[in-house]
Amino acid sequence: MEKDIHHTLYPTIKVEKVNFVIMLKKLVIGAVFPLGILILWESLSRIGVFESYQLPAPTAVALKGIDLFQSGMLVPHIMATILRVFMGFLLGTSVAVFISILVGFWPLLEKLIDPTIQALRQIPSLAWVPLFILWMGIGESSKITMIAVGVFFPVYLNLLSGIVSVDRKWLEVGQIFGLSKRYQITKIILPAILPAFFTGIRTGLGLGFMFVVASELMGASEGLGYLLILGQNTLQPDTILVSIILFAVIGKFTDGTLKSLETKLLHWQDTLERGQSK
């Protein structure tokens, strides 16, 4: 009991301090390995073990990046890719939210629609690419549609399982207090499915990036995926590596944003170190 009171009186200060130290430690430990690799890579490149037309040194890649940036080419490519992911993500998420709500709340619709979606899910989403290109050409719409398809499934599946597994115990609390349908939804159901929703959109965003690469590889005149192809066709591995690194950075950043939003909104969750494993 005493321990409990102590804990509730000073929770934030203590936790934050501890978190900071732990984070710093993790950062340092986590950096050792990639730094070692970089140094090894750089040295091996310098003494000529890797041929520069196959694997340029890290410094060469960095220089190429700066070069591309200064030429003014890089930012438009980055923006093009981000915009596509964003649009596809928005489209895929909206459709998934809409359908999973319909299916989750009306059992008849679940019986009607869910088996079809479960079957469609078995098709590797990339298999749709040729069809979309045939229908919509290689313009923006086919790319965004593809990304949306990739985003749709994880969001739909997670949200639906969240909706159908809202604990009856909480719904009964709402019932006992005579909550109106509207309050049942806003005060119980929505908060209860929020964790599943976040799991869905974070997975969805990851797939969105996978699909933007695929769609840009199929044919594009701008975007980071286009840079990959450009590097391949002009025999410039440094350009390819710049693009790959940018994908990593952007992906990490956007997921980090979602993750911090999640931590903020779901602070009430009683789980150990949220999202550590993801």
């Binding site: 009991m1 409990d4 804990h7 509730t8 929770p11 115990k169 909480w170 009964e172 609390v173 019932q175 006992i176 207090f177 005579g178 909550l179 005060k187 119980i188 908060p191 209860a192 929020l194 602070h267 009430w268 969750q269 009683d270």
Partner: protein, 240 residues
């Protein structure tokens, strides 16, 4: 408010949980349901609350048939069931419809009653079991129910907290004349709180005995009169 049960039975697929229950609960009365684990106490309480309507027989609330959950009937579950995304104060005012100054004062008064002052903005994950149950009790009481149904509200608590909260219930009951139906398997608790103790038999649950406790409150937990009743109840429970 009078609650009347006429031939109430409830069966699940394979078991008859309660069978042919006839009971009239008077306004302001404190009833304790006593019986072995699995004898149908929770089932009976759920039918009374309106949450479970798959029973046969009739239940009347003030003479009108009970057709579902009613605002006048409060329920305290066997476990706290606080909503994890709401802090203590939001959980406690969860069932309140108004949002004026008077209501807010009332909320704070009940927070004080259950001893959660200073804990208003803590989330359930940081509450101890006892604190959670106090919050759940305040959440039900603050709505000023005419009938309060309690399903083993104290069974997960330590002895001292339990005694304290029993006295709190009696205080509230004396003040608001709330009708209470409480499930328990603690004979001492039943003897301390109840006007009548309804002893249920197991499988199927039927009323085996109704014991009136006439001793006036406040009762002492160790009085000789209660001891006699305790032996009587123990005997009943052992016979089966």
């Amino acid at each position: 408010m009078t609650l009347t049960l006429e031939n109430v039975s409830r069966s699940f697929q394979t078991v008859t949980a309660i069978k042919q229950i006839n009971l009239t609960i008077k306004k302001g009365e404190v009833i304790c349901l006593l019986g072995k684990s699995g004898c149908g106490k929770s089932t009976l309480l759920r039918t009374l609350s309106g949450l479970d309507q798959e029973y046969s027989g009739k239940i009347y609330f003030e003479g009108t048939p009970l057709t579902g959950v009613r605002e006048e009937i409060g329920f305290i579950f066997q476990e706290p069931r606080l909503l994890p995304w709401l802090n203590v104060i939001d959980n406690i005012q969860f069932g309140l419809k108004q949002n004026d100054e008077q209501t807010s004062q009332r909320v704070h008064r009940f927070i004080q009653y259950v001893g959660l002052k200073g804990k208003e903005y803590i989330y359930p994950k940081a509450l101890s079991g006892g604190m959670s149950q106090r919050a759940a009790i305040a959440r039900a009481l603050v709505c000023d129910p005419e009938v309060l149904l309690l399903d083993e509200p104290f069974s997960a608590l330590d002895h001292f907290t339990k005694l304290e909260l029993q006295d709190l219930l009696l205080k509230i009951q004396a003040k608001y004349k709330t009708t209470m139906v409480m499930v328990t398997h603690d004979i001492d608790e039943a003897l301390y709180l109840a006007d009548r103790i309804v002893v249920l038999s197991s499988q199927p649950g039927t009323i085996q005995q109704i014991v009136e406790v006439t001793q006036p409150r406040p009762r002492t937990r160790t009085s000789d009169g209660l001891k006699g009743l305790k032996e009587k109840i123990l005997k009943t429970l052992h016979v089966e």
